[in-house]
Subunit: 463 residues, 2 copies
Amino acid sequence: MNRIEIKEVYQQAQSLDGQRIVVAGWVRTVRDVKNFGFLELNDGTCFKSLQVVFEQNTIDNYDLVAKLNTGSSVMVEGTVCFTPNNKQSVELKATKVTILNATDETYPIQKKRSSIEFLREIAYLRPRTNLFNAVFRVRSVASFAIHKYFQDHGYLYVHTPLITTTDCEGSDQMFKITTLNFDHLPYTKDGHVDLSKDLFGKQAFITGSGQLHGEAFALAFSKIYTFGPTFRTEKSNTKTHANEFWMIEPEIAFCDLDGLMDIEEDMLKYVVQYVLDHCPEEIAFCNQFVQHGLKEKLETLVKSDFVRIDHKDVIEILKKADVKWEFQPTEGGDIAKEHEKYITEYFHGPVFIQNWPKDIKAYYMKLNPDGKTVAAVDLVVPGSGELMGGSQREEDYQKILSRCQEMNVDVKAIDWYLNLRRFGSCVHSGFGMGFERLVMYLTGIENIRDSIPFPRTPSNCQY
Amino acid sequence: MNRIEIKEVYQQAQSLDGQRIVVAGWVRTVRDVKNFGFLELNDGTCFKSLQVVFEQNTIDNYDLVAKLNTGSSVMVEGTVCFTPNNKQSVELKATKVTILNATDETYPIQKKRSSIEFLREIAYLRPRTNLFNAVFRVRSVASFAIHKYFQDHGYLYVHTPLITTTDCEGSDQMFKITTLNFDHLPYTKDGHVDLSKDLFGKQAFITGSGQLHGEAFALAFSKIYTFGPTFRTEKSNTKTHANEFWMIEPEIAFCDLDGLMDIEEDMLKYVVQYVLDHCPEEIAFCNQFVQHGLKEKLETLVKSDFVRIDHKDVIEILKKADVKWEFQPTEGGDIAKEHEKYITEYFHGPVFIQNWPKDIKAYYMKLNPDGKTVAAVDLVVPGSGELMGGSQREEDYQKILSRCQEMNVDVKAIDWYLNLRRFGSCVHSGFGMGFERLVMYLTGIENIRDSIPFPRTPSNCQY
């Protein structure tokens, strides 16, 4: 008899009623009620487990099954029993339970609920819990929703390089890579490590952004997006920083800042709605156990109109606010987390903060006619703060050169990027979205370490 | 007036007939026929360019437009002229041509066809050519087809870590990463570089495979796949090796080697058919200019039944063949490129070669009852050789331990991975597909450097 998935058992419960089937999976709990027992079986194909009923009279290894530990793998043959209008609408009456691999008392996850911090220590087993089953399903579905949105809208998916010698984030934030043997490093005559002996013949890094390469492709395909891993060497042990994270970076030719905000808003609403539609049980679980009000938060987002406001007007509102700030809002200054929180509460929804002081933003952002601000935009959302950051790019060759000089950017290292402004340049814009931020927003999870399968943070690179 | 995409012009040509529209893009060619001219405009939203007709009497900058160089960016306002039953079925009669950015004679791509080797040197501009427009569109569409196949079939997409301290390919093949300053390296008392001072407190690498981490997730979700970048330090300057490439690694619980081959075959046919359906112009172009017979090759694959044959039987066939081999086929030995070629021609189609000698395969592959072979399988396809490699994994704790000892694998470094065999182990299988190999197969492109946007090979890490 062929095994079927627990997801299929639920989907076809009515037609399977009375049928004999085989399922396999991992034991969540076993309850022995003398002569018969209940076994919760989960195979990860859907959020829900399947209740298996086993009886002393029916199976020949009752005592072994009744003593099974959480995490054991079993295969169960049995008859489907469907009860309409019953909370536990389907169960499987076992005729045979084959124990594939029984865990012993050293199995780290036991019946009682484990703390999220403890589960973080066993990253290779935590997907077997309800919480991480939900979070990683949402992560997978949201990934696909992003691909589907951009592909349906005619964007080209570009695999920008991970190994790079040019990067828009600056090399002091980047991991160096090497094939040299640390115990036998080659040296140049003047006493430096001789990087010409390395595989690429020079210092290479792993990237912090695909934007520069993405722009090159946008100036050929009009609309492109990247979706891949990025890296930062930041030594921050906070809830929102990881050294490895995934980013989505769309880039659109013939598109200005207003057009960019239209895309950001449309895309985010699509992805949120897609997750609501495709992960109802996972969202319900997170709503109950992770963040109360999560579902309403997401449903509200989809229906809301995002506010668009200039940075300077945000500062005005913050200054007028009757709040004792930790960081005083200033006209030329950044927007702190506490400010983001205030401003999303002030507007009861997501806010695009646009036209930022040029001195706190990157060289590639388009200088506005005022000469003081750049056409940059951050999207801040209730509960999570900044979710996306983007800008119209400076498309004028001379202007971007001057900005590079002003900001001490090494123009030689990015000459090809600057050349894009000489070879068919045009108005173009793009944004970046940290994918873990989105997963945290979608699930209510508060620590980035719980939004990514095997998190990498300072001093922490296990598994 | 809002700009519309050239793709939309073609899709809605009939209803747009006689309408005024605005398009924007990059000039491919300009032909000046005195008093009027033709301009081929491409915006990358579809493979085809749009023919713009401009007349001296109609636009006010005729002379400038007539002299435009390839690569210049323009915006064109004009009237759509649709002619049914005409090869050039739609053209745009310009009423206004705005020159956004005119290239000069330093623009590297000129009207005449450039060699593929030359274009490789200008990776940031080559997507503006027909060839790379086609290849990178196919790459994007094939990526989505892979996601769609696995998501539609209930697989979980897992972002396995790029930074890792454990890897199934062995650390001698891996790039080391570091945040240490090469000019001021810290040393331990006994004279080694002090890696405890590095960001993760030990030596970390960028990964060559997500398999080990993927298995952990398969033993929670039953069916998972990865799709991400992987790295090898190989110093091979061949047409098929790159130091950075993308891989797809599905892993399936409760699935044996036969089940795995079913999935590989089904997935590959789906992806090929999807590309045929969604990239007809790109495939037609590659069929004409890259590989004659490409389209037929792909259509044949979708309809064929893949052969399944044991490694030892392949060796028999090779030995009997009337061919002077460069590498003599032997029973315990590997299958060389020339052998792969022969065997796919022998069977006129794709061939699964299964049950390989254990000594030339990895420790994690399931030992067959004969004690000599492992349940591994390579898929070889006509014209491209090996496209996928997979195996049933050894699920028995003691057996995998013995194999590790036999093959000198450091069991301490992968204790968590081995523990999966103690904590709810089950039959499971997985495979890896190098994505560039697939792109090369789909487009007929012969050099891996032309299948990836910014290739990284030894001594070559530009852009």
